[in-house]
Amino acid sequence: MKPVSTAVLLGTLFLGTLAHAQQRVVKVDGSSTVAPISEAMAEEFQNANKGMKVTVGTSGTGGGFKKFVRGEIDISDASRPITKAEMEECAKGGIEYIELPVAFDALTVVINKQNTWAASMTTEELKKLWEPAAQGKITKWNQIRPEWPDAEIKLFGAGTDSGTFEYFTEAVVGKAKSSRGDYTASEDDNTLVKGVEGSKYALGYFGMAYYEAHKSKLQAVKIDWIKDGKSQTGGAIEPSAANVIGAKYNPLSRPLFIYVNKQSAETKPEVKAFVDFYLKNAKTLVSEVKYVPLPDATYEVVSSRWAKLQTGTVFGGSHAVGISLADVLAKESK
């Protein structure tokens, strides 16, 4: 009898003493691609400033913006620029935002170590392989290039909820979320690594960070960006940090962003301090979590946008495929 009555008593006591609590926390949410950067920043920021509190969620870029427009979070992690619809929602909710690119992410197309033929591919070939029309039809390597083996391709790719999937389809097929469906899809990139590692005739794609972590087991495909029948990159480009920074590895590299709520930036000193810290330490921490930092000059432009609390987006609601971030930002800051 006793434990039961104690539990009842505790329950009533508990419900009876509800009091609203105020906590000074910097709330970050959004893309799981950007999360490792924000988490590293949060870790170091909290080490350097005792008493400061930061939380990082991973609701996805879209999920993060949903919370952002409701004013629930201070900073939204995004693996793509804000969309037109999200801009309208922000305007409706009276939310002003500061758009800050913080790093590059690159997608890598990978093949098995024993694959001797497909060391480089064009974006047209990738499109032929991945577009929805390829489903059930393009199943063998020699259908892409006649001299390649007459063997079945095993395809591995990102799950349809991920930003990686959205970005790859946008960059390769030309339309976001438009892809063939008959491939092994997984949100867990380690599954994809294992799949490609295990089959000689496999091909897959995922974030460059995963490729870097499993370099010894996989081979990366050099990408030649063909647009309007012409090579935009002047030959096949290897996915490497240098090529990403130099804006050569296109269209499979993209900028990653944080969007800061202007109201939070003005009214919460801890948010301002955190973003200051973020931009100051971006270069070192971004490469430590295996992403590619922006060039120094670009960080300077970004920092000055932040210092001026300059609101709005420079992308006008469209995807940032194959464009030079430095160019866009430079145009804006004039």
């Binding site: 539990a7 508990f14 105020q22 988490e39 939380t55 990082v56 009214t267």
Partner: protein, 418 residues
């Protein structure tokens, strides 16, 4: 007719066959459990140490720990238990002992059984709409705990009813015959006799809850958190030197703020606030206290002027309509003893004082399974070891709860004599 010895031999044979099947089933279950434990141990045992329990998550796999996730899981479970156990047992007792048997109670019965089969994410969606947006409980431990309590309530209710039903009817009749009221029968006989069965159901329910992620992710549990909820009665930090406060009514957050701001930002009634200023980290120094008087007739500009008049504090209005308070550099401040109701009305941070006994329940949180997923999705394989170690922790928590149930059951059985 078959000779008797043949019948007996057949019976013995059937007995043997069944015991072998039963034994093999048991062995199969144990093997699966053993395999699971072995794979977790072989990956995670090397990471299990005091450091793992007492460190926050980190980008370096070897330095990362599960402190915030472990504390989060335990606190969420505490709220879940405090909510679901009394509610579930009370509802079960009512349905079994008090409610009249008619079509309405049958309808409720069927629906409770059905609720137990609803996918957990549905509970998360309901909690997001009801607890987070309707009741403004925030994306907090409290919301998480209540959400999981909803999830396991049907299991607790059903377990309670089954336990009560297994008590022979003559126990009730004997008690009634001696003149006991219904409540006396429930309190002195039925509940003690059924504690074993109820606690088994409760523990199974809690073990399910502790492994849940979907509803918690839906209500906004986060994946990276490196601080603990405030302990009861611990000292609340003072406000830092620069501090911009929101000077808008809490319910005015939805629309654009520009218009009507002046009307909303008025003190609700007359009273005073003590503004205290002291050197930063000067917990032992005596703060300088200034008492400000407020009247409902004061406008936002009057409020600003009042705060600005305090020695060592300056107040200004930001373009977006916020009241910015700043102590002189190197000092911090707090707003205490607010009898004007201003801090509550304007949702201002107060700083200073002590945390209330249950204020931890409003903290953001993460739980062990979410932390496991976070680690599993990292490119670096070293994080997989951390995930396995967190899995072992989770198993240890479940084992602890099961141990408690076995203990309670054994104790109760010893006390019952009929």
């Amino acid at each position: 007719m078959r000779p008797i010895d043949q019948t007996i031999r057949r019976g013995i044979f059937a007995d043997r066959v069944f015991s072998i099947i039963g034994w093999a089933s048991l062995l199969f279950c144990l093997c699966m459990l053993g395999l699971l434990l072995y794979s977790l141990l072989s990956d995670g045992a090397s990471r299990l140490s005091w450091d793992f329990l007492s460190s926050f998550p980190s980008r370096r796999a070897a330095a990362a720990g599960a402190k915030s996730a472990l504390v989060g899981s335990l606190l969420v479970m505490l709220i879940t238990a405090c909510t679901a156990i009394p509610l579930g047992i009370a509802a079960g007792v009512y349905l079994e002992e008090y409610a009249r048997k008619n079509w309405f109670t049958s309808l409720i019965e069927v629906n409770i059984a059905n609720l137990a089969a609803v996918p957990s994410i549905i509970y998360g969606l309901m909690a997001l709409g009801l607890l987070v947006y309707q009741f403004h409980l925030g994306q907090s431990i409290l919301t998480g705990g209540i959400t999981l309590a909803f999830l396991i309530l049907p299991i607790v209710i059903v377990a309670t009813r089954e336990a009560l039903r297994s008590i022979p009817q003559h126990m009730r009749e004997a008690a009634f015959a001696l003149g006991a009221s219904r409540w006396q029968v429930v309190r002195d006989h039925l509940l003690p006799y059924s504690t074993g069965g109820i606690s088994t159901g409760v523990i199974i329910a809690l073990s399910r809850a502790v492994g849940e992620t979907a509803p918690l992710v839906t209500i906004g549990a986060i994946s990276y958190i490196a601080f603990l909820p405030p302990s009861p009665f611990s000292e609340r930090p003072w406000l830092p030197a620069t501090n911009a406060q929101r000077a808008i009514a809490p319910n005015a957050q939805e629309g654009p703020l520009a218009s009507g701001l002046d009307d909303m930002a008025r003190p609700p009634h007359s009273g005073t606030i003590e503004v205290r200023v002291r050197p930063a980290q000067g917990a032992n120094t005596t703060p300088v206290t200034t008492t400000l008087a407020f009247e409902p007739s004061m406008s936002i500009e009057d409020l600003r002027a009042a705060f600005d008049s305090v020695e060592g504090l300056s107040a200004s209005l930001t373009p977006s309509g916020n009241l910015a308070l700043a102590a002189d550099a190197g000092s911090e401040f707090s707003l205490a003893n607010d009898t004007a109701g201003l801090t509550r009305a304007l949702d201002l941070d107060k700083g200073g004082g002590r945390y209330g006994p249950v204020e931890w329940a409003w903290s953001p949180f993460t739980v062990l399974p979410i932390q496991m997923f976070n680690w599993l999705s990292r490119p670096d394989e070293a994080f997989a070891k951390n995930a396995a170690a967190a899995g072992l922790l989770l198993m240890a928590v479940t084992l602890g709860m099961n141990g408690a149930a076995i203990f309670v059951r054994a104790r109760m059985r010893r006390r019952i004599k009929w």
